[in-house]
């Protein structure tokens, strides 16, 4: 047995794990009968179907007829910078206010580009903060915490 299609294999494994996870989770809720279904019934069977189909995908990836597909490389650096800066923005928003957190979001996420320059990143940050002010706060009237809490209180 050889894993020929690595993409499909790992996708299948993921489906199996998630399917079983959802099905196990569903057992905590009341199942009920087919006529009077409890909240666990439908997700339980969906989970089972997902796991079964995922297993088929994985097995298919091991068959000798599968086309050889290697895994694509993950660029974790980009992922960490992008996801990290968005998450950080969420953490800081209520504390530092929209202007500073958006600026930080722009500046930090710019690090993910291979042609990063701090001047361009800072300029983009300023411009986007202005845009947020003009379009979202003034234009659409959305309500954000604007400035750091320790300054306003």
């Amino acid at each position: 047995m050889q894993i020929k299609n690595k993409q499909d294999f790992w996708a299948g494994v993921m489906f199996v794990v998630l399917g079983i996870g959802f099905a196990l989770g569903a057992t905590q809720y009341s199942m009920g009968t087919a006529a009077r279904m409890g909240p666990g019934y439908f997700p339980f069977w969906l989970g089972i179907c997902l796991a079964a189909l995922g297993a088929i995908v994985s097995l298919g990836a091991m068959s000798s007829k599968a086309t050889k597909t290697p895994m694509e490389k993950f660029d974790w650096q980009i992922v960490v910078v992008i996801i990290g800066s968005v998450t950080l923005c969420g953490v800081l928003l209520n504390w530092l206010g929209i202007y500073i957190s958006i600026f930080l979001l722009v500046f930090l996420s710019s690090l993910a580009s291979h042609e990063f320059s701090w001047k361009v990143a800072a300029a983009t940050g300023f411009f986007l903060v202005l845009l947020v002010y003009g379009a979202f706060i003034k234009g659409l009237g959305l309500i954000f915490p604007l400035w750091p809490t320790f300054l306003t209180n």
């Binding site: 993409q7 499909d8 790992w10 996708a11 299948g12 993921m14 489906f15 998630l18 399917g19 959802f22 989770g25 809720y29 009341s30 087919a34 006529a35 279904m37 409890g38 909240p39 666990g40 019934y41 439908f42 997700p43 969906l46 997902l50 189909l53 995922g54 088929i56 995908v57 694509e72 993950f74 660029d75 980009i78 992922v79 992008i82 996801i83 800066s85 968005v86 998450t87 969420g90 953490v91 928003l93 958006i102 979001l105 722009v106 996420s109 710019s110 993910a112 580009s113 291979h114 042609e115 361009v120 990143a121 983009t124 940050g125 986007l128 845009l131 947020v132 979202f136 659409l140 959305l142």
Partner: protein, 501 residues
């Protein structure tokens, strides 16, 4: 004529100053973002969706529809000028459209694409107005069992007609359905899969998933490509196609419209399939097939009309049955529910002003785009020159603000970030996000109908196959699956999608 009466109602709604303004705003915003390379209609709509929540329902949906066409028009502009398709259906536009641009006929190519799309849009709008009411009549006869089977057919059709691996796509649907289960169960009030987090009791917002999986993960995959800057065709040339080009373009345009309208009604990647199919058709019947791929107007006009017609007619199942056929219509369904409108056949009778207003505004939107786009080509070209390092932080900001404004809760920002990460892994595993989104939107509806059907049948599963309408829908779904797994069809399907790859 009842149809005329309806249409005049629609136009009276759409022609108010306010709705015209929102339609125009939607078209402009849609084009603006759609033109940006690498951003297709789905992330565009997902990003702008929260803005429309503050509007009244009719205006909100009109604006969304405008964004949709705008994004499509913008996408073809990018495809023609810089050979960077923002979405799969624009891949075909690149083939001949970009070649025309390189031959110095960029202006003509843009005009042909715009006029072809406009023609297709007009025809499809009339079809929509004509076909929707009788189809809704049929839908009124549907019980829960039929609805469940219809959703099965819709979901299966959506993946069968799209490209990519079938079993994986079905898995993504199931996963989407399961994600749709998260939140409070309407029947029992039990909070499912909430892990004790109060925010999860309201369920996972589809906009969060769409922005994470389509917006964030696309940014990350684009960044990996290291910004392959492309030289933009600077000279646009005459905006008017010459006689020869016009003569070669009009017939494919009509054929493309017919093909697209028919395929668009089917659930699934109507727009993608129809543009590929139209290209193949034009090449087959052409007397000079060797000119395709070298800037033949027919290779541009056909697919462009087809994909626009399909985009329009894909609203037929959405508005009459409440079943989304692709990711874009799934987002529309979500937007409707946000505005407290239950999508389905009753929309036409309970909210006629919304239904017909939307249809009328589709036509107006198409007209606006043609008036707007051709003169503004210079502006779009400037936009294309914005480097990605400035562009992607801006997208991040819009997405972040957008999800935050859904509930004014930072939890949604974290959820979007999490789905961005998951979406990145899915992109690497070649698992498509569109089926997931369909499943997510349909999940609660599907469970509800499944439960009700079995409740009515006292737990008898045969209810799905003993009711003739339900049975035929299920047979159709099964036939679709069998059909694509047949070796001959499978090969053909692969061929259609890799054509000229």
């Amino acid at each position: 004529m009842e149809l005329l009466e309806h249409l005049s109602l629609g136009f009276s709604v759409a022609f108010t100053a306010e709705n015209l303004a929102y339609c125009l705003l939607g078209c402009i915003l849609g084009t603006l973002i759609g033109v940006l390379p690498g951003i297709g209609p789905v992330p565009t709509i997902a990003m702008l969706l929260p803005i429309t929540y503050v509007l009244p329902p009719v205006a909100g949906l009109i604006m969304l529809a405008g964004i949709y066409y705008g994004a499509q028009y913008g996408g073809s502009t990018t495809a023609i000028l810089v050979a960077l398709p923002g979405e799969t259906s624009a891949v075909v536009t690149v083939l001949d459209g970009h070649q025309m641009a390189r031959n110095g006929r960029a202006g003509a190519a843009l005009a042909i694409a715009a006029l072809g799309s406009f023609f297709a849009g007009c025809v499809a709008t009339i079809l929509l107005a004509g076909f929707a009411p009788p189809l809704a009549e049929v839908a009124f006869k549907f019980g829960p069992a039929e609805y469940f089977s219809l959703m099965v057919l819709g979901l299966i059709g959506a993946v069968v007609l799209a490209s990519g691996s079938l079993p994986k796509a079905i898995c993504m649907i199931l996963l989407g359905l399961l994600l749709g289960m998260v939140g409070t169960d309407v029947n029992s009030g039990v909070a499912r899969y909430d892990f004790g987090i109060p925010e999860l009791q309201d369920g996972i917002d589809f906009a969060v998933v769409a922005m994470g999986v389509f917006g964030f993960s696309e940014i990350m995959t684009n960044l990996e490509l290291r910004d392959q800057r492309i030289n933009i065709t600077g000279k646009v040339g005459s905006l008017y196609p010459n006689k020869q080009e016009f003569k070669e373009a009009w017939a494919p345009c009509v054929r493309g419209t017919a093909l697209g309208s028919a395929l668009g009604i089917l659930p699934g990647g109507g727009a993608v399939l129809s543009s590929f199919a139209s290209y193949t058709l034009e090449k087959k019947i052409s007397k000079t097939p060797e000119r395709f791929g070298k800037g033949h107007p027919a290779g541009l006009a056909g697919p462009e009309s087809a994909n626009n017609a399909a985009a329009q007619t894909s609203f037929i199942p959405l508005l009459t049955l409440g079943i989304p056929g692709n990711a874009v219509t799934a987002l529309m369904i979500g937007a409707m529910t946000i505005h407290n409108i239950q999508p389905g056949p009753q929309v036409m009778t309970s909210h006629p002003e919304l239904f017909w207003g939307l249809i009328a505004s589709m036509w107006i939107g198409n007209l606006m785009l043609i008036v707007l786009n051709l003169p503004l080509v210079g502006l779009w070209i400037k936009l294309l020159k914005v480097p990605y390092r400035i562009l992607f932080p801006a997208i991040l900001v819009f997405c972040t603000i957008g999800v935050y404004s859904l509930n004014y809760n930072v939890f949604d920002i974290w959820m979007t970030a999490a789905f961005g990460l998951i979406g990145y892994v899915w992109a690497k595993l070649k698992c498509e996000g569109a089926p997931l989104l369909l499943g997510l939107v349909l999940g609660p509806m599907m469970e509800e109908n499944f439960r009700r059907a079995l409740l009515l049948a006292r737990g008898d599963y045969t209810t799905f196959v003993t009711r003739p309408l339900s049975l035929s829908l299920l047979i159709l779904a099964a036939a679709l699956v069998v059909l694509v797994t047949l070796p001959a069809v499978k090969k053909k399907r692969e061929e259609t999608f890799v054509e000229e790859d």
